[in-house]
C-alpha cells in the first residue's frame, strides 16, 4: 500500500492531487500540500540523514523552520541543486529530486559511523586539542582530511540559472507571522486603512490554526475563522499578504528584509517569474508575531529517527494527515503535549504519555487523557531510547521521593513525541536591538524594552493561550496603526505551562550517556558540561568551543537547553549567563536572493565608448580601466602583443595613428569666478591663459601629493574645458565640489561632468594634419595659426568639434572632441581619409609606450599618493605668484622639502634587450647584507621599438643626483644593471611636437 502512514481522511493536503518526487532515487508519493518531510513520513521513511560529526542516523525532528537534522540536497533540474534544505519546509512537488547528505557509501551503510564508536575522542574542543602537532602535519594531513569531512551538503558547482528580484516597499504596519496573533494584528491595522504588509514563512498563512482541529474562535471552528479572516484581508486593497515569505533580518530604522520564495513550489518552474524575491521593507511600525519553538528533551539517544517534537507529531497528523508512528509515546514536562497526544489518538495511533512532572503539578490534562483511554505516567523520567535507525522503544522510570529513580520500564513504540517546553522566537526583536528580559514563569527570554518602533505579540512574546494571543495581536495591530479600537475574540482555552528539565534525570553512568542538546552539531549535554569545566564560562565561548547553537539552524531548538545546562554547572541564573547574540538571517537565505539582479554587468557595469563596436569589429583586444573597456591593441593576423605594439608605435612616429581617448574624464567649469576657482584647485596659473589656449594642469590633495592631471582648455573667459584621467573623473569632480560647496561657496562657479557628452579621437603623428585638413571647416590648421597647446571650435565632417592641438605621444597631434552620438561617423571618415597615409589604429598599450618614450607620467603609475610635483620633476609648473592653492602649504612641510625623496628618473639597462619588471626594487650595491637598503622602484618599463631597446622610468631616492650612475634592479633571477638617465628617451628638445 502506498503511503501506509497516511490517515484515511483529514488534513489540509489535496488528496485529489497526488504528486511524486524522489528520495535517494526512490519514488515517494504524496499529495499537493505536503512538505517533503510529511510525504516521507507518510511512506514510513524516518531515516533521512547522517549527523555532522558522529554520522549517527537521523530523522525528522520538527515540522517547521527550526529543523536541525533532516537536511536534504534538493535538485530542481540542471544547475538547480541546493544543499542543506530542511525537509520540513520544502514543499513536495512533482519532479523534485531529494538526496540525503553526509554519508558514504550510502545513507543505510555509512563508513563515517565509526566516528560514533570513537565518540570518546571527539569531545568538545576536539579540533583544538588534537590537530596541534606535529606542525608539518597540518598542510599535508590534517587540513585535507578535515576539509573533506567538513560541511554537510555539497555546494553546487554550476552557475545558478535562476533569476532573482529585489523590491523596495514601504508600509505603515509590517506584521511578521500570520498565526493567530499576526492575523489579529493585521486585521486591526487594516481596519484603520493604513498600508499593511503581512508576511508568513509558510505556504499557507495561519500558523497554529492550520493544525488546530479542536479550538473555537469567535464561535466558529478555528479553521473557519482562519478562512474568513484571510478572505477579509485579501479583499482589502491596503493589505499585501505575502505567504512563503520569511522576515530574516531586522535592521536600522525599521528596515526589515524579507525573502519571498516565488516559484520553487511550482512543478513547471516559474516561467518569467523570479525564483525568489528580496523585499526591503521600510515600515512605520512593526508587529512581531513569529511564534515559538518547542524544546526537545535531553535524554540518552534522543536523536534516534522517529523521535520528534510533540507538537510536530500533532502537525503531521492534523495538517498533513500523516501519522509518524502507529505506537507513539509522548514524553513531556509540560501541558501542550497532552493536546498532541489526544490528537494523535484521534488520528488512530496507540498513545502513551510520560510526564516528568508529578501528578500534583499537572492540571486537569492527565485525567482528560485517561478518560480518553490513554495511559498517562506522571512523575516519570525518560532514561533513553531504543533502536538505531528507527526508535523501537522508550525506557522510562518513576522518580521517587528525594529523586530516587525507580524500576525502569520499556514502552515499545515506533515514534516518540517529546516536549521540553517552549522558546519564544525573539530573533527579530533581538536583531532590532531590543533588550530581552528573562521571565521565570515562562523559563524564557521575552521582548523587553524596544529600541525601534515595534512590538511583539502572541507566542513570540511568551503568550501561549489562544484567546490571549488573539487579544494581544489585536491590541498590537491597533496600537501600531494608531487606533484606540479593540475587538476581543472568544476562543477555547489552551493548556499551557511546563517545568524546565534541561537534562532528564537518569541513574546511568554519565560518561556513557549520549544525550543530544544540539542535533545539528552533535553536541551532547556531556560536551557542554566539559566545556564549562575546562573554563569556558561565557555563553559565547561555550557556543564557539562546543559549536552548540551554530550552523544552519542557529540553535533554535537547542539554545535554551544549552543555556540551562551552563547555568546549572556554574550555579548561576539564566539571566546571569545571558543569551548569545541573535544575528541575521533568521533562517538560511540563498545567495541568489541577497544578490538579486546584481550579477554580471548589473553588478560590475561596463562602460564602452562610441567607438567600441568599431574596435571590436577590427580585432581589438580590450583591457579594463576603471569601469571602462578600452581597446588595448589591434593585432593583425599572427601578431602577439609585442609585435602589434611595436608596429603601432612605429606607425605613430613615422606616419599617423588614431586612438580612442573618449574615456578621459571631462568637466566643464563655468562662471564669472571660473578662473579664480581653477587657480585655487590647480598648482598652475590660469588667470592669464587666453581663450583658445590649453595648459597641462596638475592637481594636488591638501597634503601636497598629486591627485590628478590633464589638459585644460580655456574655451572663453568664463568657461574651462577640463580633462582628467580616465579613472579619476568622478574623484576629481567630487574633490572640486567639496571645496566649492564647503570652503568657497562665495565663488560663482558651476561644475558639470561632460565625460559622456564628448567623445575624443586622438590623431597623432607627423601626417596627422594632412589627414584631417580636408575634413575640418572653420579652423586654420597651419602651425602658425594653430600651434601646439591651442584649442579651436569648428566643424569636422560637418560635426561641431572642440579641436585640441595636444599630444600625449610627443608627435604632432590633435584630440578631436565631438558629440558622442556622432563620434563613430567622424572616426570612420577619418579612417577613410587616412587610408592613403597608412593611418593605424592603436590601443592603450601603445599609448603607454609612446608617452614613456617622452617621459610623460601617468597618475597612478608614476604616482602613488605620496608623490609631489617636484618628485616627478614638475615643480616648474607651480605658479610662483599664487599665494595659495590646494596643497601649496604642504609642499613646504619638512618631510616634503627634505633630502632623500624619491625622484623620477629614466633607467637604461646595460643590456638593451632586458625589459625590467614594473615594481622591481632598486639598490646601489647588491652585495650589501640583507635587508638591503632599497633606493626605489621601477614605475614603467617597456620595449621601445622606436628606440630599438628597452626603456624604463623609476622613482629613486635623490635620483636626479645620480645621473650616469649604475644601479642594480631586481629580476626574478637576481639582479640586472641599469644606468640612471634623464626620463626622456626620444626627441628631448621636443621638436616633433611643434611640427
Amino acid at each position: 500500500m502506498a503511503q501506509p502512514f497516511r490517515t484515511s481522511r483529514g488534513g489540509r493536503i489535496d488528496r485529489a492531487r497526488p504528486i511524486r518526487f524522489s528520495f535517494n532515487g526512490r519514488t515517494v508519493e504524496g499529495y499537493h500540500g505536503d512538505t517533503v518531510a510529511s510525504a516521507l513520513l507518510a511512506n514510513g521513511i524516518h531515516l533521512v540523514g547522517r549527523s555532522f560529526k558522529y554520522h549517527r542516523p537521523r530523522g525528522i525532528l520538527s515540522h517547521g523552520p527550526d529543523e536541525p537534522s533532516a537536511l536534504l540536497s534538493v535538485d530542481r533540474g540542471p544547475g538547480r541543486v541546493d544543499p542543506n534544505n530542511r525537509a520540513s519546509v520544502v514543499e513536495a512537488r512533482d519532479g523534485l529530486k531529494t538526496l540525503s547528505q553526509n554519508h558514504w557509501p550510502s545513507l543505510e551503510v555509512d563508513v563515517g559511523e565509526v566516528n560514533d564508536l570513537l565518540s570518546p575522542v571527539f569531545v568538545a574542543g576536539f579540533y583544538y586539542k588534537t590537530f596541534m602537532w606535529p606542525r608539518k602535519f597540518w598542510d599535508k594531513v590534517y587540513e585535507p582530511v578535515i576539509r573533506a569531512a567538513a560541511g554537510l551538503g555539497k555546494a553546487p558547482v554550476a552557475a545558478d540559472p535562476d533569476r532573482y528580484a529585489n523590491r523596495h516597499a514601504h508600509c505603515d504596519v509590517l506584521v511578521v507571522g500570520a498565526g493567530p496573533a499576526g492575523l489579529a494584528a493585521a486585521l486591526a491595522a487594516a481596519r484603520t486603512g493604513k498600508r499593511v504588509i503581512l508576511a508568513d514563512e509558510g505556504p499557507e498563512p495561519g500558523g497554529s490554526l492550520l493544525h488546530d482541529l479542536t479550538s473555537q474562535v469567535d464561535g466558529r471552528p478555528a479553521a473557519v475563522w482562519l478562512a474568513e479572516t484571510l478572505t477579509d484581508l485579501d479583499a482589502r486593497e491596503n493589505v499585501i499578504l505575502l505567504p512563503r515569505t520569511t522576515a530574516f533580518g531586522y535592521y536600522n530604522h525599521n528596515h526589515v528584509a524579507l525573502a519571498e520564495r516565488v516559484t520553487d513550489h511550482l512543478p513547471a518552474g516559474g516561467g518569467q517569474a523570479p525564483r525568489e524575491r528580496l523585499w526591503q521593507v521600510r515600515a512605520g511600525e512593526v508587529v512581531l508575531a513569529g511564534g515559538a519553538h518547542e524544546r526537545p528533551l535531553v535524554f540518552s539517544d534522543n536523536d534516534r529517527p522517529g523521535v520528534m517534537l510533540a507538537e510536530s507529531v500533532r502537525v503531521f497528523a492534523n495538517r498533513y494527515g500523516v501519522l509518524p508512528g502507529r505506537r507513539i509515546v509522548f514524553a513531556t514536562t509540560g501541558a501542550s503535549a497532552y493536546r498532541a497526544a489526544l490528537d494523535a489518538k484521534a488520528a488512530g495511533a496507540e498513545v502513551t504519555l510520560v510526564d516528568l512532572r508529578l501528578e500534583a503539578d499537572c492540571g486537569a490534562e492527565p485525567a482528560e487523557l485517561r478518560a480518553a483511554g490513554i495511559e498517562v505516567l506522571t512523575g516519570h523520567t525518560v532514561l533513553g531510547a531504543k533502536g538505531r535507525k528507527r526508535v523501537t522503544g522508550l525506557v522510562v522510570a518513576p522518580i521517587g521521593p528525594e529523586g530516587r529513580i525507580g524500576a525502569s520500564r520499556l514502552l515499545s513504540c515506533d515514534c516518540v513525541g517529546m516536549s521540553g517546553g517552549w522558546t519564544p522566537a525573539v530573533h527579530l526583536f533581538s536583531q532590532s536591538r531590543g533588550k530581552l528580559v528573562y521571565e521565570p514563569g515562562l523559563d524564557a527570554f521575552v521582548p523587553g524594552t524596544s529600541a525601534q518602533a515595534e512590538r511583539s505579540a502572541g507566542a513570540a512574546k511568551g503568550t501561549y493561550d489562544l484567546a490571549a494571543c488573539l487579544a494581544e495581536g489585536d491590541a498590537a495591530g491597533a496600537e501600531a496603526a494608531g487606533s484606540q479600537e479593540r475587538r476581543a475574540l472568544a476562543a477555547t482555552p489552551t493548556a499551557t505551562g511546563f517545568q524546565p528539565a534541561r537534562v532528564m534525570p537518569t541513574n546511568a553512568d554519565p560518561t556513557k550517556v549520549r544525550a543530544f542538546v544540539d542535533f545539528q552539531n552533535d553536541v551532547t549535554a556531556k560536551d557542554i558540561k566539559l566545556a564549562v569545566r575546562e573554563g569556558f564560562h561565557s555563553i559565547e565561548h561555550v557556543k564557539r568551543y562546543t559549536t552548540t547553537g551554530m550552523a544552519t539552524d542557529q540553535g533554535k531548538t537547542s539554545n535554551m537547553n544549552a543555556l540551562g545546562i551552563v547555568a546549572g554547572q556554574l550555579d548561576k541564573t539564566l539571566p546571569g549567563v545571558g543569551t548569545t547574540t541573535f544575528r541575521p538571517p533568521y533562517t538560511p537565505v540563498t545567495f541568489g536572493t541577497l544578490v538579486g539582479p546584481a550579477r554580471h554587468a548589473l553588478f560590475d557595469p561596463i562602460r564602452t565608448t562610441p567607438i567600441h563596436g568599431w574596435a571590436e569589429a577590427h580585432g581589438a583586444l580590450f583591457e579594463n580601466v576603471a569601469l571602462w573597456r578600452r581597446a588595448w591593441y589591434f593585432p593583425k593576423p599572427g601578431e602577439d602583443l609585442h609585435a602589434a605594439v611595436a608596429r603601432e608605435c612605429k606607425a605613430v612616429r613615422e606616419g599617423v595613428g588614431i586612438f580612442d581617448a573618449s574615456t578621459l574624464g571631462k568637466i566643464e567649469i563655468v562662471g564669472p569666478d571660473a578662473a579664480e576657482f581653477m587657480n585655487r584647485m590647480y598648482i598652475n596659473p590660469w588667470a592669464k591663459l587666453e581663450p583658445g589656449r590649453c595648459r597641462y594642469g596638475l592637481m594636488l590633495k591638501e597634503d601636497g601629493y598629486i591627485l590628478d592631471d590633464g589638459v585644460v582648455a580655456r574655451v572663453s573667459p568664463e568657461c574651462f574645458h577640463v580633462t582628467t584621467t580616465t579613472g579619476g573623473a568622478a574623484r576629481v569632480l567630487a574633490h572640486m565640489e567639496d571645496y566649492l560647496q564647503t570652503e568657497w561657496h562665495d565663488l560663482d562657479v558651476f561644475l558639470t561632468s561632460t565625460t559622456e557628452q564628448w567623445a575624443v579621437i586622438a590623431l597623432q603623428g607627423p601626417k596627422a594634419r594632412a589627414v584631417i585638413e580636408p575634413l575640418v571647416d572653420g579652423i586654420d590648421l597651419s602651425p602658425q595659426a594653430f600651434p601646439h597647446m591651442a584649442m579651436r571650435s569648428g566643424t569636422i565632417c560637418g560635426v561641431p568639434t572642440r579641436l585640441f592641438r595636444v599630444s600625449f605621444t610627443g608627435e604632432l597631434g590633435f584630440e578631436i572632441n565631438v558629440p558622442s552620438d556622432q563620434a563613430l561617423a567622424v572616426w570612420e571618415a577619418i579612417m577613410e581619409a587616412g587610408r592613403p597615409h597608412g593611418i593605424t589604429p592603436y590601443g592603450t598599450e601603445t599609448m603607454h609606450v609612446l608617452r614613456a618614450e617622452k617621459g610623460y607620467i601617468i597618475v597612478g603609475q608614476e604616482t602613488d599618493g605620496t608623490v609631489t610635483p617636484d618628485d616627478v620633476g614638475l615643480a616648474g609648473m607651480i605658479a610662483k605668484a599664487k599665494k595659495d592653492f590646494v596643497g601649496k602649504r604642504s609642499l613646504a612641510r619638512p618631510d616634503v622639502v627634505a633630502k632623500g625623496r624619491k625622484q623620477l628618473i629614466g633607467l637604461v639597462t646595460d643590456d638593451p634587450k632586458v625589459v625590467l619588471d614594473e615594481g622591481a626594487q632598486i639598490v646601489a650595491d647588491p652585495g650589501q647584507p640583507i635587508p638591503m637598503r632599497m633606493l626605489g622602484h621601477v614605475t614603467s618599463s617597456y620595449w621601445s621599438a622606436n628606440c630599438n631597446r628597452s626603456i624604463a622610468l623609476a622613482l629613486v631616492a635623490d635620483g636626479r643626483d645620480l645621473m650616469g650612475r649604475t644601479l642594480h634592479v631586481t629580476t626574478p633571477d637576481g639582479f640586472t644593471t641599469a644606468t640612471v638617465a634623464e626620463p626622456v628617451f626620444l626627441d628631448p628638445k621636443g621638436e616633433r611636437i611643434n611640427a
Binding site: 535592521y251 536600522n252 521600510r282 567630487a734 564647503t742 595659495d884 602649504r889
Partner: protein, 113 residues
C-alpha cells in the same frame, strides 16, 4: 540600513550618502601663515569621540550637496542634520574629544542624558 535626513531632500537610505569625516574644520584663510605644527594638526588631527560627533556628509547619490550631521557614534543614531555653513541647534550635546580615557561609557551616557 539607516535613514539619513538630507536637509535638502528629506529622509533617504544611507547607501545614497557618503561620510566626509569631522565637520566644522575651517580651512585657514592663509595657510602659509601657519607653522608646520599648526598646519599638520589642521591636516591630520581629528577627534574620535565616543558619543555625539559633528560630521560632514554628502548626499552623493542624490542631490550631491554636502551637509553636516550630529551622529552618536555609540548608538549610530543621527540627532540632527543641517546645511553646510550652519550650526547645529544641539551643539551643546557634542561630546568633547578631551573626555579622559578613564571615563566609562555609563558616565558619558549619564552626562548626555
Amino acid at each position: 540600513m539607516l535613514l539619513i535626513a538630507c536637509p535638502h531632500c528629506g529622509n533617504r537610505p544611507e547607501t545614497e550618502f557618503r561620510c566626509g569625516g569631522q565637520a566644522h574644520i575651517v580651512r585657514p584663510v592663509d595657510p602659509a601663515a601657519l607653522d608646520d605644527q599648526s598646519w599638520s594638526e589642521h591636516l591630520f588631527v581629528r577627534s574620535n569621540p565616543r558619543g555625539v560627533h559633528a560630521e560632514r556628509w554628502c548626499h552623493s547619490h542624490g542631490c550631491g550637496r554636502w551637509f553636516n550631521a550630529l551622529r552618536d557614534t555609540v548608538s549610530d543614531r543621527f540627532l540632527e542634520t543641517y546645511p553646510a555653513g550652519a550650526q547645529p541647534t544641539r551643539s551643546s550635546e557634542i561630546t568633547s574629544p578631551e573626555v579622559p580615557a578613564t571615563v566609562t561609557q555609563s558616565t558619558v551616557t549619564q552626562a548626555r542624558a
